[in-house]
């Protein structure tokens, strides 16, 4: 029930903050999303959408930081793991 899906805002319509909607792209599927809870959202932003409402703007800096950190763990452990499974990095 708490499932929320990230999508990219293509365009924003409506001036009244309570009725602002956006055309949001979910990997090719486009839907109209209510932006009443995310007045700061602009075209190009990613939003998390739940039951037709954007509940947050994805913080792209935080996302990049977290993912960078995760990748780093992956890279570090790869080196550590390589001898164990006998498969080093392929050139």
């Amino acid at each position: 029930m708490c499932l929320a899906v990230p999508g990219r805002v293509l365009s924003v319509e409506g001036g009244d903050p309570a009725f602002r909607t956006g055309n949001v792209d979910f990997c090719g599927v486009r839907k109209t999303v209510n932006l009443a809870f995310t007045p700061e959202v602009e075209p190009g932003d990613f939003v998390l959408v739940h039951v037709g409402f954007a509940i947050s703007r994805v913080d792209q800096e935080e996302a990049a930081r977290t993912y960078g950190y995760l990748k780093q763990i992956g890279a570090l452990e790869d080196e550590g793991l390589a001898p164990k499974d006998g498969q080093g990095d392929t050139p």
Binding site: M1, C2, L3, V51, I55, T66
Partner: protein
């Protein structure tokens, strides 16, 4: 970045699991609160990737599962009235009431329609002025602002033929109940990322201090959950009990203040009965008196209808992390998704359904 695929990289997943293995020195029991997280853990086999010291137990975060029996009975009663169009998220339709479910009511002639958003119910109300449109407002704090918005909108437009069964529940009181139980085994929580997106995590910080238990607010993708588990293990091994936020791309300390404003405008906190668990103080929402005309239970006069739980179903223990679905003698035999005894076998977020779907029969 699409904020999905990046968080499903199997190589990084293995690396984080390896890191957890290096770190862990003794057994720890962790609970993911949210049913959506339970499904990710089962679907990707994350529990099997973890060292044997880490035991995951599954929390009460499935709103469909904790909606009490009489609420389903009330919904069926209302849906069966000839002038009613009953609208609901699809999840609720096959949840058993004491005798029947909404799907059966629909087969018997009730006009039951699945909607994706409460705003669709509002549209149906506008288009059908001669019918009464009732929406089944189920959900945790994630869903509550959307449902509040529908009621607010109905009032603002003067829509007289719309009302809502409000069955909203809140996560922190349920966590408190688990932590207060003398039989509690949970030593750390993965916090519900989307609930916290709306509400922030101040309430969870209070829980960490009151019960000296670490909580890491976590996302819903495999790497989110693995990182949250790694952060919990680090805290536990170091003897810390703090609030930390793994899901920072969506969650901040304050949460979504605009959504919280509409919640306060439309709802007030009230005691709520949880299926199988009983009444928990201040654990849900009801409509404020100013919005009484939109409260389906008051409109249809069904507030006193009560029902008994089936005895064989152990869902109350599953929802509190005291039992696993496979501990139930009915699991996979007398209780399956096609013929469920209890709601956790029905919902896409129920722990029993997750175990069944991802073949954890043994």
């Amino acid at each position: 970045m699409k904020y999905v695929d990046e968080y499903r990289d199997p190589q990084i997943a293995l690396a984080i699991a390896e890191q957890i293995s290096h770190r862990v020195t003794r057994p720890w029991v962790l609970m993911e609160v949210c049913g959506g997280q339970t499904h990710t853990l089962m679907r990707y086999g994350i529990d099997e990737l973890l060292p044997k010291e880490i035991e995951l137990v599954h929390g009460p975060g499935c709103p469909v599962c904790v909606t009490p029996l009489e609420m389903v009975d009330r919904a069926i009663r209302i849906a069966s009235l000839p002038d009613v169009i009953f609208t609901s998220y699809g999840d609720m339709l096959r949840v058993p009431g004491s005798q029947s479910d909404l799907f059966q009511a629909s087969a018997n002639g009730a006009d039951v329609r699945i909607v994706y958003s409460p705003m669709e119910a509002i549209k149906i109300a506008r288009a059908n002025p001669g019918r009464r449109i009732v929406f089944f407002g189920v959900g945790f704090e994630t869903t509550a602002p959307a449902n509040a918005m529908a009621v607010w909108q109905a009032k603002r437009e003067g829509l007289r033929n719309f009302s809502m069964i409000v069955a909203h529940v809140l996560v922190p009181p349920a966590m408190r109940l688990i932590l207060q139980s003398p039989t509690n085994r949970v030593q750390g929580f993965i916090g519900p990322g989307h609930v916290c997106t709306v509400m922030g995590f101040q309430e969870y910080e209070e829980l960490t201090k009151e019960f000296r238990v670490p909580i890491v607010v976590g996302g819903f993708e495999p790497l989110d959950l693995l990182e949250a588990i790694a952060m919990l293990v680090a805290q536990l091994e170091e003897g810390r009990a703090e609030i930390e936020n793994q899901y920072s791309r969506s969650v901040n300390y304050e949460g979504n203040l605009t959504a919280q404003r509409i919640l306060r405008e439309v709802f007030e906190v009230s005691d709520r009965k949880w299926r199988g668990i009983g009444s928990i103080e201040d654990s849900g929402y009801r409509l404020r008196d100013e919005y009484a005309a939109y409260d389906a239970e008051r409109v249809f006069g069904l507030e006193d209808l009560n029902a008994e739980e089936p005895k064989e179903c152990i869902s109350a223990l599953v929802l509190q992390g005291l039992k696993k679905p496979v501990d139930c003698p009915a699991f996979g035999t007398r209780c399956t998704p096609m013929r469920p005894l209890g709601a956790p076998m029905v919902s896409t977020e129920g722990a029993c359904a997750a175990y069944y779907q991802y073949r954890r029969h043994a």
